[in-house]
């Protein structure tokens, strides 16, 4: 993702009417939300909402398809809200809610679409079929749209349960797994467009499918999908920034590891003719780790600021904090070796894969095997 543009004036010149319309819609939406629901927000919530506008606008300006995606997800979410008419029971009665755009259904659609997309990408790789790849790509777009719709509607549904229950759906393991799938999917779609190759899809979608498989197991055997109210420690605006930043990090690290797998295969000559050259894969891996590291740094710092407010200490070596630190150290070392030492080659790919194992432990393993303050989802 291009953070620093060499010439921002040139960027602004490149904006088309669609961009301006998009930005206007974002601003309008934010103002409407402020006017309508400002009473539920504190000053920080409002600030976060307002900063979201330029943030999402910049995303859309730099990456045009993102605008369509966001517009579609928003339209679906609004349609869902309109169908609800403020009555939770209508989720069971209205056909389109029950089978399309209530939160659970939308997330089920997301899961199904991710699985089919994975299949399409695998087929594309096996048969060198550009059509299958294009299908996989389109399905991935649909999946992230449905998933985003699902989370937005879930946010709304939580307020229908009770105004004291309502909260942004980023509060437990179930919700963040959806977020993880979405973030990884979106990051993949970005790199797919930027590097004009769809052949990494088969690899990246595998890790998303694994996450979705876990999500389904978590739903069917643990009923984890039920919206739960927030315990006092989680009732804070910090959740809105800490969690998404973290999952940009996790998503990017996961993507980097899967691209690393592809990179290793190409270097060994496996599927080499069907995959992008090793330099491209290496570059994607670096870009992903760089963006992941930057956001993971922010997320960890935001987490520390939040911890200072909720627990009275910005850092207390809680298992989650410690493992976040280990993840951070790991990628800090990776970047040092690549950027300063100038190392290239299979070792970095292997390292990125090991990095995913470490990240996965920090993400899920800590909740499973270690106990601590930061245990918001148990298995």
């Amino acid at each position: 993702m291009e953070i620093a543009h060499k010439d921002s004036a040139a960027l602004l010149r490149r904006l088309n009417p669609g961009d301006w319309l998009y930005a206007l819609a974002l601003a309008g939406g934010a103002l409407f939300a402020l006017r309508q629901y400002g009473g539920f927000m504190d000053i920080y919530d409002k600030a976060i909402l307002l900063f979201t506008v330029p943030g999402l606008a910049a995303m859309g300006f730099a990456w045009k398809p993102f605008r369509v995606f966001l517009a579609a997800a928003t339209a679906l979410a609004l349609a869902s809200i309109a169908l609800y008419q403020g009555d939770l029971a209508r989720a069971e009665q209205v056909f389109f809610l029950k089978y399309l755009i209530s939160s659970q259904t939308a997330i089920m659609w997301m899961s199904a679409l991710f699985f089919i997309a994975t299949g399409a990408f695998l087929l594309g790789l096996a048969a060198r079929s550009d059509f299958a790849d294009a299908t996989g790509s389109a399905l991935t777009w649909c999946a992230v749209t449905m998933g985003t719709t699902g989370l937005m509607v879930r946010w709304y549904e939580s307020y229908l349960i009770g105004t004291d229950v309502g909260h942004i759906p980023l509060s437990n393991l179930y919700e963040v797994f959806v977020l993880f799938a979405l973030m990884t999917g979106l990051l993949y779609l970005y790199y797919e467009g930027r590097y004009a190759t769809r052949r990494m899809g088969a690899f990246v979608l595998l890790v998303i499918s694994a996450a979705v498989a876990f999500l389904l197991w978590y739903t069917f055997s643990r009923e984890a999908q039920e919206i739960q109210p927030l315990i006092p420690a989680l009732q804070s605006y910090w959740m809105k920034v800490h969690v998404p930043a973290n999952f940009i990090g996790y998503g990017a690290f996961a993507l980097a590891a899967m691209v690393g797998v592809a990179d290793l295969m190409v270097r060994k000559g496996i599927l080499a003719s069907r995959l992008p050259p090793a330099e491209v894969l290496d570059d994607v891996m670096y870009k992903a780790i760089a963006i992941g590291f930057a956001f993971f740094t922010i997320a960890t710092i935001l987490g520390a600021l939040w911890a200072a407010e909720a627990w009275g200490t910005y850092w207390q070596w809680d298992p989650k904090e410690t493992w976040a630190f280990i993840v951070w150290l790991n990628y800090a070392t990776w970047l040092h070796i690549r950027l300063t030492k100038g190392l290239r080659g299979p070792m970095l790919a292997w390292w990125a894969i090991v990095g995913l194992v470490v990240t996965a432990f920090a993400f899920v393993g800590v909740n499973m095997f270690l106990s601590g303050l930061h245990s918001y989802g148990s298995l």
């Binding site: 069917f220 109210p229 315990i231 420690a233 009275g312 150290l329 040092h336 106990s371």
Partner: protein, 679 residues
């Protein structure tokens, strides 16, 4: 000279990338230890976990407080040293590099760049120079010119700020580590080592704690807890250090007006808040404030956080039901949470230790429906719709207050009990629940005391008393036999039946169903056991009915008629009586009333390092983004009078972006310097 070279070598080592990477790896591995061994637990837990051999070894290694241990702090110290050395080492060349344009670069060296191209120039040299300069400026480069004999070199650069990112990010690590050290327990350790402060044990009155275990109000770095019951105040914090405590005097006094504890319908905690009054010791000024989770408050440089809450000494009124034989009436008792009461007065050689009180308990009373035998499609269907739990699956109800207490006998052995104050509806009938366990980690096993027609447990106590009284067994047997066999039965049959009944009652009174079971197993052939068991149950139920009637006569109550709910009560009575034989205590305490007193636990801290850490964090973010996303590019355009230009590009990084930007600039300059002839 020799000394100088050694320190030089040390500096080289410290500032080397290899050393830094080794440190980062070491730090990562060391950090894992603290997540495997639970940190800062009471020392007894470690002793139990590791045994007497390993416990002291691990203690020496600092494994119970890894992140404050000497060796961990040493690694961190080396990280600070290494990073600092790295910054110092890089400072001069980097600043020079940032400032310099390298406008004296020779053609031959430019020609050896990885990215370089020779372009034909068709425009006059001066014009080409001006056009190139304009192009470079438009693309965000700053340029310096160097005019040579037969050429001019435009040395341009952009993105030098990435170097500032380096200093920010690495300086940030040093700042964060220093700030963290100030807020860690190093200042405390120094005070203990140099200031003569000593740990003391936690189980004594605050007033008795000697001055060498108290820290003064001028202490600038501490973290402790203040415990304040409602209506009380406190002006000292307790610092838990290793296996002891220190007291921290606070410059103010905190009084707790009220502690708010709110729950969601599901029983999940919703809000913890303390209404407090803070009075400054020096000025006497007071501030009222509500502190809640995520909403701390700062006073006199001390931050106060809602950390937890406890019982502040709630007073319980209890009714003690004697479970031994005889006709002792229930006796009233009072107990305070956290205190022990001797039960001598009630004639019991036991101590009642009231551990905790809960004003309400929210339970899911929905009957568990067996998972529908439907196919997977129906299961999927069940998971579609909203994320809200379907209301059919839950019936959250407050089942009322409960207490937890230990009964300790004269030998020091204790059993733990959990008793509910109100009857609870289970399987269609109301029961008083009392749970018992021998092992604090085991779940409670509950005895269900059935409620009678008046909604009271009295009938059970009365029936039980008669049923377990061996002196009355012959009378029960006589009455039961008479009712069961009728008048026409011969005396021999009657006698045998009476004997069997008395025997059954005796066995039941001794060990409940278990004794009966053993008796059946030892005397009756296997094939007939089930039938025999049914007979024994019938005898017991009939006897219980007679016992009930006898108990009512004893108490001067009117007779009762058989009814379905009475049959059920008798069955429940037998079950509860059986359980009561394994209850392990001679008395059951029924809570009858309470005055709840809550206490808040506030965490109080002075953390002088916090601003430093926050500043470091800001630097870190800025630095990381600057290093990763500001791209340094140096573009050299050597325009030669001979009608040729040499374009060369260099960057501090090697990446595909560099290749791409070189291609872009090269192609743009090629058209610029050699415009296509106009048609």
């Amino acid at each position: 000279m020799r000394h100088r070279s050694t320190s030089r070598a040390l500096y080289e080592l410290l500032s080397s990338m290899r050393f830094a990477i080794s440190l980062l790896t070491l730090l990562g591995v060391a950090s894992i230890i603290g997540t495997v061994v639970k940190q800062n637990e009471p020392y007894n837990n470690y002793l139990n976990q590791f045994g007497p051999f390993w416990f002291p070894i691990f203690e020496k290694l600092g494994l119970y407080s890894v992140y404050n241990s000497f060796w961990f702090l040493t690694i961190l110290g080396f990280l600070v040293l290494s990073t600092s050395a790295c910054i110092v080492r890089q400072a001069r060349p980097m600043v020079k590099d940032m400032k310099g344009f390298r406008e004296h670069a020779r053609e031959s060296s430019l020609a050896s760049f990885a990215h370089q191209a020779r372009l034909p120039v068709s425009r006059p040299a001066a014009e080409a120079r001006a056009a190139t300069l304009a192009y470079l400026t438009a693309n965000g480069f700053t340029t310096r010119e160097n005019t040579r004999e037969d050429s001019v070199l435009l040395a341009a650069k952009q993105g030098s700020w990435t170097r500032v990112g380096y200093f920010l990010a690495h300086g940030a690590i040093v700042l964060i580590c220093i700030g963290g050290l100030l807020d860690g327990n190093l200042p405390l350790k120094i005070q203990m080592a140099l200031g003569g402060k000593q740990l003391t044990t936690g189980n004594q009155l605050i007033a008795q704690i000697p001055p060498e275990s108290r820290l003064g109000v001028d202490n600038w770095s501490f973290r402790g807890n203040v415990f304040i019951p409602e209506g009380k105040s406190a002006n000292t914090a307790v610092l838990n250090v290793q296996d002891g405590i220190l007291l921290q005097d606070l410059p103010f006094t905190v009084s707790l007006r009220k502690f708010h504890l709110e729950h969601y319908e599901s029983g999940m905690p919703k809000r913890f808040a303390s209404d407090i009054l803070i009075t400054d010791n020096a000025s006497g000024k007071s501030v009222e404030k509500t502190i809640e989770v995520n909403k701390p408050f700062e006073f006199a440089g001390v931050m106060m956080y809602q950390a937890s809450f406890e019982d502040g000494g709630s007073r319980l009124r209890l009714l003690g039901h004697d479970l031994r034989g005889g006709s002792r009436p229930p006796f009233p008792a009072e107990a305070v949470v956290g205190e022990a009461v001797a039960l001598k007065e009630a004639g019991l050689d036991y101590t009642l230790e009231l551990g905790s009180f809960r004003a309400f308990n929210i339970e899911n009373m929905a009957v568990d429906k067996p998972e529908a035998e439907a196919g997977s499609l129906a299961r999927l269907d069940k998971h579609l719709g909203s994320g809200a739990r379907s209301p059919a699956d839950k019936d959250m109800q407050n089942v009322g207050p409960s207490i937890q207490y230990k009964l300790r006998d004269s030998a020091g052995q204790a059993r733990e009990y959990q008793n509910f104050m109100q009857p609870i509806l289970q399987d269609g009938a109301w029961y008083l629940l009392t749970g018992m366990r021998n092992d604090p980690s085991a779940p409670f096993r509950f005895m269900r005391i059935p409620m009678d027609d008046d909604g009271r447990p009295d009938s059970w106590f009365a029936i039980r008393r008669v049923l377990l009284d061996t002196a009355r067994h012959p009378e029960i047997a006589r009455r039961f036999t008479a009712t069961a066999l009728g008048a026409e039965a011969g005396p021999e049959v009657l006698g045998r039946m009476q004997e069997t009944t008395a025997r059954t009652l005796e066995l039941f009174a001794k060990g409940g169903f278990e004794s009966l079971g053993k008796f059946i197993e030892s005397t009756i052939p296997e094939a007939e056991r089930d039938k025999a068991a049914d007979v024994f149950i019938k005898i017991l139920e009939g006897s219980a009915w007679e016992a009930w009637k006898m108990a009512r006569t004893d108490a001067g109550q009117p007779a009762i008629a058989p009814a379905a709910q009475h049959a059920r009560l008798l069955r429940d009575t037998l079950n509860a009586t059986n359980d009561s034989l394994h209850y392990g205590a001679p008395v059951y305490f029924q809570p009858t009333g309470f005055d709840e007193v809550r206490a808040t636990v506030l965490q109080v801290t002075r953390s002088p390092g916090k601003p430093i850490v926050y500043l470091g964090s800001l630097f870190l973010v800025l630095g990381v983004f600057a290093m990763l996303y500001i791209r340094e590019r140096r573009l050299f355009v050597l325009i030669k009078d001979s009608g040729e230009a040499l374009v060369a590009l260099s960057s501090n990084r090697k990446s595909m972006d560099v290749d791409e930007s070189f291609r872009r600039h090269r192609d743009a300059l090629a058209t610029l310097l050699n415009p296509a002839p106009r048609p």
